[in-house]
Amino acid sequence: MNSLFLLIPLAIAMVVLAAGFLFAAIQGGQFDDLERHQHRMPDDEP
């Protein structure tokens, strides 16, 4: 059971890390426009 004293803080640290990555992605503009990129496919429109 003592393992929980290690695993829970570890889980919290990983969540914080994941949130950090998410924020970096959001601030980098990855979620700004989810519509546009479907039109950027290499095939040209007629």
Partner: protein
């Protein structure tokens, strides 16, 4: 010197400065049609000083450039040289605000999701069975730590708005939400510190997550619709060509004064109201009057700002009034006035919520007082009070409506309709009359050559070729119709001939192509023939052409479905009565009224409303703006004038009118689901409240019931989405080429 240089002076009006000294602006780019065009455009600009992100779908380009390296005029010239026509729009700070808000909302949802999941996982232990007392403090402190960012960061908008409204003594629906979140969080924190009772961090986290998601979906639809509108807002030109001592100078529109001489090149919009100086000109005034066919104006006649030079030659005018006094600005103001008169359904909901929260707080206080008064121990009394607060938490009640509205917006977006005002869903359930505009709404802006009647020995094809050749240099629906019918006809140099039409001189003789007066009776045989033109050679009629306006796809199906739903459909048009009746008959509409000015449309609509009808108005031109703003519910078309859309409750983005009938159907469905949800939430609260007050319901069970209740309401709302995959992909409206 290039004519884009005027925009270097207007830098602050058209772009926004960024922190690093660069500037950013959104351009509308005409001629951007495919991925190859995007490459061509992006390659035309020097990659270091200019970063361009072109978007085919919206026909726009986001420019980020360094004004110290390269003036804006050079960038615009480069785009122009690459074969595109940049249209400079007035800068709108709301675009960046919307982007920042979206980022913040996504961040909140992410935090609520990531941390909330951990909280729920840790909490599940206590639900499943006894926890080792030695481990309990660890688990609870971990939950507390993880729930704190969820409540304080993700839940901050609810807390701030809820308690802000409470401080202002006008509680809104956010107030009970804020109290519930704060209570659950604080009570859990106290229980964690004292290591007694139960904790509800998981309930608080899940509640914040669900609420944030619902609000985000709701707001997302609105920002997307608004972004489309801004792109089309090129109605009032920012700059004009002024003649000064024989020289042409591009000046900002704001610098124009009465008496200035302006030159308007073909295809450009007039920047200020004025008086025509050149002999004759063809003007597309569809923005102001809704009339699709350009009007011929003669020397001395008035010209409105916003109308477009549809002739082959530049026209000249003397400014009579500029800026706020122009007809266009006045129409805009008329529209704003009508909009202010709209009732707000939201206020009612907030008033109800205010009373609700008052009652809840009183009940909780009374329960606590009773239990303390009856001699129970303090801990037990607090537990009961908390159970009352949790059980009466209006989670399900406050999710009932937004969840249904979010699902309805998503469903409508799939059908090709953007909901701008969510309140419109409620109003749409009571609509019993639908008012349609004709030109550009029920019909497309294109016309079709329906019939050629020859009146001499010259055969139909030859007549068609001559007429087509004469119209070749022009850019309006009639010319387009001839081009479609006779694409190979060689151009014949022609010029405007007074108000009646075109004149051309060839070796065969002098040709005239003129509009027949609408009262001509010998031609009015077929109902489809809405406009007649006559071609004559040396004064003798040679042929007559019948041009038909084309119905937009789905017009018939929409009218049929609206009829089946028991609604009345009427057509209001600025065009002649004959034209209006013809189109109405084609679409299956019984009542059509023509020759209506914008004010008259507004008056007809007000008369309908005074007679007790609830009206849905559909339109596109600015002339419909007042009508749209005054209607109970309004729908604008995405290829119409920008202002009309800005005032629509919903915007049709798909070239299929049937979605309008879909709006009314979804609104009715949404109303049913909202009623079911609210009914469930109230029944649940009322049933469990006595149990909680009597102390029979422990707070953790109340919290479990609250979660289940919220989930049930959310799932019920999802039924609005309908079968996934049933909707076909929306075909974007092809914007009519800017004439």
């Amino acid at each position: 010197m290039n004519h884009w240089e005027v925009y270097d002076q207007l830098l602050d009006q058209v772009s926004q400065s960024l922190d690093d000294g660069r500037r950013e602006m959104l351009l509308r780019v005409e001629g951007l049609r495919c991925r190859a065009c995007v490459r061509r455009l992006e390659r035309a600009l020097p990659p270091g000083p200019v970063e361009a992100q072109a978007d085919v779908a919206s026909g726009s380009c986001l420019l980020n450039w360094d004004p110290a390296c390269l003036p804006l005029s050079a960038v615009l010239q480069a785009i122009d040289d690459a074969g595109f026509r940049p249209v400079v729009l007035a800068d709108d700070a709301s675009r960046r605000t919307a982007r920042d808000e979206r980022r913040a909302a996504l961040g909140r949802i992410g935090v609520a999701l990531l941390f909330g999941m951990q909280v729920m996982m840790l909490a599940s232990g206590e639900y499943l069975g006894e926890i080792d007392p030695a481990l309990r403090p660890l688990l609870r402190h971990a939950q507390w730590l993880l729930a704190t960012p969820v409540v304080l960061y993700a839940g901050w908008p609810f807390l701030r708005q809820g308690f802000g409204a409470l401080r202002a003594l006008s509680p809104t629906m956010d107030t009970p939400v804020a109290i519930a979140i704060a209570t659950a969080y604080l009570a859990s924190a106290i229980n964690t510190l004292l290591d007694t009772g139960a904790v509800y961090f998981d309930s608080a986290a899940m509640f914040v997550l669900l609420l944030s998601l619902a609000r985000f979906v709701e707001a997302h639809g609105r920002t997307r619709a608004a972004a489309r509108l801004r792109l089309l807002a090129g109605a009032q030109p920012l700059a004009a060509l002024r003649r000064e001592q024989g020289q042409l100078l591009e000046v900002p529109t704001s610098a124009l004064r009465a008496g200035d001489l302006l030159v308007v090149p073909p295809g450009a919009a007039v920047a200020a109201d004025g008086e025509l100086i050149c002999a004759a000109a063809a003007l597309d005034e569809s923005l102001i009057t809704g009339e699709a066919v350009p009007r011929e104006r003669r020397q001395g006649e008035a010209v409105c700002a916003g109308s477009v030079n549809a002739g082959p030659l530049p026209l000249e005018l003397r400014v009579s009034s500029a800026g706020a006094r122009s007809v266009l600005s006045q129409l805009t103001r008329l529209m704003q006035r009508a909009q202010l008169a709209k009732p707000r359904a939201q206020q009612l909901a907030d008033r109800i919520a205010g009373r609700f929260v008052g009652v809840v707080l009183l009940l909780a206080a009374a329960t606590g007082a009773y239990w303390i008064g009856s001699g129970a121990e303090l801990g037990m009394s607090l537990q009961t009070m908390l159970a009352v607060l949790v059980v009466t938490c209006p989670c399900a009640l406050s999710l009932a409506t937004p969840m249904a509205h979010a699902a309805a917006s998503t469903r409508l977006a799939r059908e090709g309709l953007m909901l701008v005002q969510v309140d419109a869903l409620h109003a749409a359930t009571r609509v019993d009359t639908v008012c349609l505009d004709k030109t550009g709404t029920l019909t497309t802006r294109r016309m079709r050559l329906q019939e050629v009647r020859t009146l001499s020995t010259l055969d139909a094809d030859a007549c068609c070729a001559v007429a087509s050749g004469m119209e070749a240099g022009l850019n309006h629906p009639i010319a387009q119709a001839f081009r479609d019918a006779c694409p190979q006809a060689p151009a014949i140099p022609s010029r405007l001939d007074g108000v009646q039409g075109l004149r051309a001189e060839t070796t065969d003789g002098v040709w005239h192509l003129s509009r027949l007066p609408s009262t001509t009776t010998d031609c009015a045989g077929a109902i489809h023939a809405l406009r007649w033109l006559e071609l004559s050679r040396d004064g003798r009629p040679v042929a007559r052409f019948a041009l038909q306006e084309q119905l937009r796809p789905g017009a018939g199906a929409m009218v049929r479905r609206l009829r089946e739903m028991g609604l009345e459909v009427v057509l209001f048009s600025g065009d002649g009565q004959q034209a209006a009746s013809g189109v109405a008959e084609l679409a299956g509409i019984a009542g059509a009224q023509g020759n209506l000015l914008p004010e008259q449309k507004l008056r007809r609509l007000a008369a309908l409303q005074a007679a007790g009808h609830r009206v849905l108005a559909v339109g596109d031109g600015i002339n419909d703006g007042p009508m749209l703003a005054a209607a109970d519910v309004s729908i604008g078309l995405a290829d119409g004038a920008a202002l009309a859309q800005a005032h629509g409750d919903a915007i049709l983005i798909q070239d299929n009118l049937e979605a309008i009938a879909g709006l009314l159907q979804v609104a009715r469905q949404a109303r049913r689901i909202v009623v079911q949800n609210i009914g469930w939430a109230i029944a649940y609260n009322l049933t469990l409240l006595p149990l909680a007050m009597s102390g029979a319901l422990p707070p953790w069970l109340a919290a479990l019931g609250m979660g289940g209740s919220s989930l049930l309401v959310t799932l019920n709302a999802q039924r609005l989405l309908g079968a996934v995959g049933s909707g076909h992909l929306p075909v974007p409206l092809v914007r009519a080429a800017q004439t």
